[in-house]
């Protein structure tokens, strides 16, 4: 099978090479059959890569350890669900996933544009296949996923327990979908520049792809945050880690892009800005892929140094220089059709929003690459921490929220005083009322930035509410529909607009959750023995008893041993909830340790216990003191090694762990370290994301355009008739 996989990749590479040549030749000579052939090679690429992807995924599911990648990243004891996702925990598998997704999206876009944009599509096809060629070449020459082992091991190394979380199934594919989807507007922007067709058509054709990329990248980022909150045992959802930042940067420029293209569509302005944004986004996506995989920056995601540095840096440098050269070369075509009439206009607000987003991206970029920059400048590697990021991103986020409330209301071209009064009275009142009310909430007035975020949040919510209400009222006046129907048909007829409003609302809810939870969080660490009680943020937490489970892991991650604690949480003497945090231990992959120790010497993970509520989350993690436990294990190992024949040692060791060592821990538990975090409104981060995702889906959903086209066709026919008669 590995041979078939290798062949599929080789064929894919040849297809890419042929397709690029065919597309460029077709574009230069205007011979349609060559362009058609290039388009078909995109489909063929998708097929070849699907075969390769399928073979590798099948090898993972079948635990075929003759594949080196499978042996290195999966094992028979890895639960099936995680076997499937172990594929993209490997460098080879993740690159294959990347290029496979790229081939699927490329096929979709060349299919959708098969009868349109004759000048642009060939160049865009060439760019997309060029991407494909780069990644397939890496897979063929540098990191082959189909390397085989002459002597397959009996069992593989297994998937790192930290990665055994349901998000592993969707977080990486979502991020990679986002990265690859952004390649499509990038390719079309390049195509439009080369073919001198820089009107809004390439934007219209790829708008859905840009929006889809923005949406799935956002979902990927949020899933990562959620994962970090629930799995990593430190209780945070965002750490300004290099790899998190890498996915945030294209998301920020992508957000700027989907706003500023509206100005190009409506007013023919900002053309240079738009192509630059989309080119930058495309480059940042490759940079993001590179950062995840290269380990050039210290990150919790450092997957080990890789050999891909040189080709990736070459690709990124090539893309950057090529983009700049293209924009400079075509600057004459990119002149604005209109001027900015007034700073009090929607154009100006959108422009400002773009500047803020790009500034944010620059802050993140600078902070992320600061270790490299400072090493280059001062010779000393220094890094900046979360406080530095917050210092700049928080004020920028406040401005952004303010603008997201103003943008939808202010008039195009030039807003008049009447317009401002009429549209802003209610939202501003919402903001002011929230501000005044919050002044009376104890603790809040001391935190001006959080207070500002809450007030601005109310302002934006007022904006969105007012817009939906006014639209509904107008619709009801026109059609007399009942209220619920009027709301749905309003949204259905203006999906992009109202979807966008919902996204604003969701993002603001998310920001409010972030502001509240980061500002008003109480975190503390406690060393406790059963019977001890500590007080955290008004909650009394009692360590009731210790637990130990062997070979029985309720969350299905394949843990061998779970040492846990039962915590009784009460407030003012009333029972609130019972939490059961635990720490899971996994079998080791090295054979060096004794038979009992082997069972638990793998990477341990925290199973946190959280009580989520609309107002407050109470989050706990436990870390048992392993010193005495380790002594017991060592004694067990000695006993097993002395008395038991080697063949039976694993079985005896397992029984010893289950029947003696674990019960001993429960009866006579050593003190354990607990981390307890009480943070308000965390739940609203996830609720806000869901609202934003819902809004994004509404905006993305195809408009009923078949019906519209039919209607306009009839209208056009009638006008033609009238003209003919006149």
């Amino acid at each position: 099978m590995a041979t078939v996989g290798r062949a599929a990749l080789l064929i894919a590479l040849l297809i890419c090479a042929y397709g690029v040549i065919a597309a460029v030749y077709g574009a230069l000579t205007g011979r349609r059959e060559w362009v058609e052939s290039a388009r078909r090679s995109v489909y063929a690429l998708a097929i070849a890569l699907t075969v390769a992807f399928g073979i590798l995924e099948l090898a993972f599911l079948r635990s075929d350890f003759s594949f080196a990648v499978v042996a290195g990243h999966s094992s028979t004891s890895t639960p099936t669900f995680y076997k499937a996702s172990a594929m993209w925990s490997s460098q080879e598998g993740s690159l294959l996933l990347w290029v496979w997704l790229l081939s699927l999206w490329s096929s979709l876009v060349v299919f959708l544009t098969r009868r349109r944009m004759r000048e642009v599509v060939p160049w865009a096809t060439a760019v997309l296949l060029g991407y494909g060629a780069f990644f397939t070449a890496l897979l063929v020459f540098a990191v082959s996923p189909f390397d085989t082992l002459a002597q397959p091991p009996a069992d593989g190394a297994g998937l790192n327990p930290l990665l055994r979380h349901p998000a592993m199934m969707i977080h990486p594919p979502m991020l990679y979908s986002g990265y690859t989807l952004f390649a499509i507007p990038f390719a079309f922007a390049v195509g439009a520049l080369i073919a001198k067709r820089v009107d809004a058509e390439w934007i219209r054709s790829t708008r859905r792809f840009a929006l889809g990329a923005w949406l799935v990248l956002g979902i990927g980022i949020i899933l990562g945050a959620r994962w970090s909150y629930n799995e990593l045992g430190w209780g945070g959802y965002w750490a300004w880690d290099a790899v998190e930042n890498a996915s945030l940067m294209p998301w920020l420029t992508g957000t700027a892009f989907i706003h500023s293209v509206m100005i190009q569509e409506k007013r023919g302005m900002l053309k240079i800005w738009n192509v630059s944004l989309v080119l930058a986004t495309g480059i940042l996506c490759v940079l993001g892929t590179f950062l995840v995989r290269s380990g050039i920056l210290d990150s919790i995601h450092a997957f080990g140094a890789s050999t891909l540095g040189v080709p990736f840096v070459a690709l990124i440098a090539g893309m950057s220089l090529g983009s700049i050269a293209l924009v400079v070369w075509r600057r004459g075509l990119l002149r604005s059709e209109h001027r900015l009439d007034s700073l009090l206009s929607r154009e100006a607000v959108f422009l400002l929003n773009n500047l803020v987003l790009v500034a944010m991206c620059f802050v993140v970029f600078w902070g992320t690459f600061f270790p490299l920059i400072s090493e280059a400048v001062t010779g000393e590697e220094t890094s900046v921490g979360p406080p530095w990021f917050s210092r700049y991103t928080v004020p920028l986020a406040l401005i952004l929220v303010l603008l997201s409330g103003i943008g939808p209301l202010i008039a195009w071209r030039r807003a008049t005083a009447t317009n401002l009064r009429r549209t802003f009275a209610i939202p501003v009142a919402c903001g002011v009322v929230a501000f005044l009310a919050l002044l009376f909430v104890p603790g809040v007035p001391q935190k001006p930035l959080a207070l500002a975020m809450f007030a601005l949040g109310a302002f934006v919510a007022g904006t969105v509410g007012q817009e939906i209400w006014r639209g509904t009222r107008a619709r009801r006046a026109m059609t007399g529909e009942p209220l619920p129907l009027a709301v749905t048909s309003l949204v259905r007829r203006n999906r992009r607009r109202y979807g966008g409003y919902l996204v604003h609302l969701g993002i603001v809810v998310l920001f409010v959750g972030v502001a509240a939870s980061s500002t008003f969080q109480t975190a503390s660490d406690h060393r406790m023995s059963p019977g001890d009680t500590v007080r955290v943020d008004g909650y009394d937490v009692r360590y009731v008893r210790a637990t130990a489970e062997v070979g029985n892991d309720p969350s299905g991650t394949g843990a061998m041993l779970s040492l846990g604690a039962v915590l009784d949480v009460s407030k003012d003497g009333r029972h609130v909830t019972t939490l059961r945090p635990a720490r899971s231990f996994y079998p080791s992959n090295s054979t060096a340790s004794g038979p009992v120790e082997w069972l638990v010497a793998g990477e341990p993970t925290s199973e946190v216990a959280v009580r989520s509520g609309p107002l407050k989350d109470f989050w706990t993690a436990v870390n048992p003191d392993m010193t005495r436990f380790q002594e017991v294990i060592d004694q067990g190992d000695k006993a097993v090694a002395a008395d038991i024949p080697e063949m039976q040692q694993p079985m005896v060791a397992f029984r010893l762990l289950r029947d003696v060592i674990a019960p001993n821990y429960v009866e006579n538990p050593p003190p354990a370290m607990f981390r307890m975090i009480s943070s308000p409104l965390v739940a609203w981060i996830w609720i806000g994301s869901l609202i934003a995702i819902g809004g994004g889906l509404i905006a993305l959903w195809p408009a009923p355009d078949a019906a519209r086209r039919r209607a306009t066709a009839t209208l056009r026919a009638r006008v033609a008739q009238d003209l003919g008669r006149a």
């Binding site: 490997s90 080990g304 590697e381 220094t382 975190a523 660490d525």
Partner: protein, 139 residues
């Protein structure tokens, strides 16, 4: 002012503002960043009271708990020079002997170092990496 000059004035003002902001950003990053040091560099050059990012490997057999405080030593990536660190706060899951870590420390009395609360970061490999056996042959 005629419109063209007004526009140019605006552009210059906006660019100046952007440059000033970017300058501030660059300046603060250099003053706020803490230099990353290996244990031997730290011993050679750390000033008492200065804040440093210590990178290295946790020494085998050095982890101890004293009440809420975690004590361990960090050694050079490829060497044996090590410094003792006392740490409080959250311990990331992958923290263990032999693992690469980054922690923000300041120099205490003599050659001991006190870590900033919650500053411990552990590098997490994507798979179990057996230290010196077959796994490394495959890469």
């Amino acid at each position: 002012m005629d419109p063209a000059r007004k526009r140019r004035f605006r552009l210059v003002a906006a660019l100046t503002a952007a440059l000033v902001l970017a300058g501030g950003l660059v300046y603060t990053s250099f003053s706020a960043g803490s230099p990353a040091k290996t244990p031997s560099e730290l011993l050679a050059s750390a000033e008492p009271g200065g804040s440093y990012k210590l990178t290295g490997k946790v020494v085998e057999g050095s982890i101890r708990h004293e009440g809420d405080t975690l004590l361990f030593s960090v050694r050079d990536r490829d060497g044996t020079t090590s410094v003792p660190v006392s740490y409080t706060g959250s311990v990331p899951d992958p923290f263990r002997e032999g693992r690469e870590i980054i922690v923000t420390v300041s120099r205490g009395a003599g050659d001991t170092f006190v870590a900033e609360k919650d500053s411990l970061v552990t590098k997490c490999p994507s798979k179990f990496e057996a230290e010196d056996d077959a796994a490394s042959d495959m890469s």
